[in-house]
Amino acid sequence: MKQFVILFSMMFGFITFAFSQTKTTDTISLKDLETPTSPAFMLLDQTPTTIEHPNSSKAFVASVLNTFNTTTGLPQNYAVDFTPFWFVKHPNLTSLSYMGYNADKHKQKIFGNLKLASISFAYITSTDSITKNQINNVAIGLRFNLITIRSKKDIEDLLAANLKAVSLLKELDGGLDAYVDRGLIVTDSALYHKKVQKYYADLASKPAQKNDLRDILNRKPVFTLDGAVGYNNFFLDNNYSNSHFGRFGAWTTLNYAKNLDSLSSDYINFYALGRYISDGTVLVNNKYTTQNYYDFGGKLEFEFRNLSIGYEYIYRSNDLTGTFRSNGQIKYKVSDQVILTGAFGKNFGTNNNLISLLGINWGISTGNEQATIK
């Protein structure tokens, strides 16, 4: 049965893919209203070919220097997405605090993930296909999780896993004391460190006790509020004085997830979305003008083991008029790599506004499935 579904999906997916390739201008991304991971890149028309993700200050400097070295002068294309939290020391941080729990007050820190805000930056040079002018785009963005609230059970599990992890460390420390006298560090420091390395190298060959903390942290929180802002400026003809405002975007996504059964991964999800885009790249009578767009809406989704069914309503207004998108969506995960996606409903605007899709998504579910408008 599974093979039949895959075969059917491949055939239908190929047809959908082929069709969408011929009508690229009529496609929308199902996820393009949600808070983007890297808001700076979202504002650009071109996707950076390579995005650096340095996770230390040294790696960050190295990535910038490499860009300079590989070009004849200033870098022409550079895109980076990083989390400053990982670059600096945190003298008073504890693991519980990092994981969003205040041990002194015995309660979770709902703003605890704000420290993990990420910054995206892109500098991309391209040539306008019509005017043949050189365009230098600079964009910067910030993405953050403002609020995270976990369930009582998840917090209890987190504390239990922390207790288990600390007990294991205490056990390892005691085992190391039995293996090597810690006073050896005073008389022969080199030998002491050699023995510490040997003790842990020997442990690696034995079955390790599982640390559950990451699994618990990866569980879906009950409530999250994410936000992002991005700003883009562009320069024409490689001239600093010929600078123009490009785009500004602000996104927010609120997610409430209720576990339908504490023993399974079935959820009912409610999303509220808000987006504001100010677009200054529109040429009218050879002058750049700015247009504003506002999107508000919500989505209700039932998420079962391999199946999710949802309904989405988004209202969009710009400086002149208002319109809405209303559609139902269905996803079925055949395997971790293969996801069937279907959507039907009305898209924004009054013409060509039918959303009708049945397609297949290969690889990890990115949320960037393309829906063809008919």
């Binding site: 996770n55 693991s95 519980l96 460390l169 190391l176 006298d181 560090i185 190298a201």
Partner: protein, 132 residues
């Protein structure tokens, strides 16, 4: 790197504490190593953190010529393995001694105190402090 602390006259009450700043799950134990090789555990951290609150560990008379041996073990299983290699650069450990002739002293961990093991999942920091 070995550090020294002058405890001063015999009646001085010496206090000691440890503060560990890290994202990883951590545990600290402190032993007193007397001349002759006798080790006695005098402090250990609790389940909330690897910190050890400042408290009296004895008077100068009994501590003189002994070593404080503090060992902190940190497990980074709770973060993405791609972040493990840099943790050795951003972990912070402060050892605080007070009450002796040297007054208030804060020592940080040194590079040669650290052992990175299990591909960076575990970091072991051992700090010897000689009490004069």
């Amino acid at each position: 790197m070995k550090r020294t602390y002058d405890t001063g006259i015999d009646t001085n009450q010496i206090t000691f504490g440890v503060i560990v700043g890290t994202v990883g799950t951590a545990y600290t134990s402190v032993y007193l190593n007397r001349s002759g090789g006798q080790n006695t555990k005098i402090k250990e951290s609790d389940i909330n953190s690897a910190n050890i609150q400042d408290s009296i560990i004895g008077d100068a008379k009994t501590l003189k010529n002994a070593y404080l041996l503090s060992r902190t073990t940190i497990d980074f299983s709770n973060i993405n393995p791609t972040l493990w290699p840099n943790q050795v650069n951003i972990v912070v450990i402060r050892y605080h001694l007070a009450g002796g002739f040297s007054g208030d002293q804060v020592y940080n961990q040194d590079i040669d105190d650290m052992d990175v093991v299990l591909n960076g999942q575990i970091l072991v920091i051992t700090k010897p402090i000689k009490l004069l």
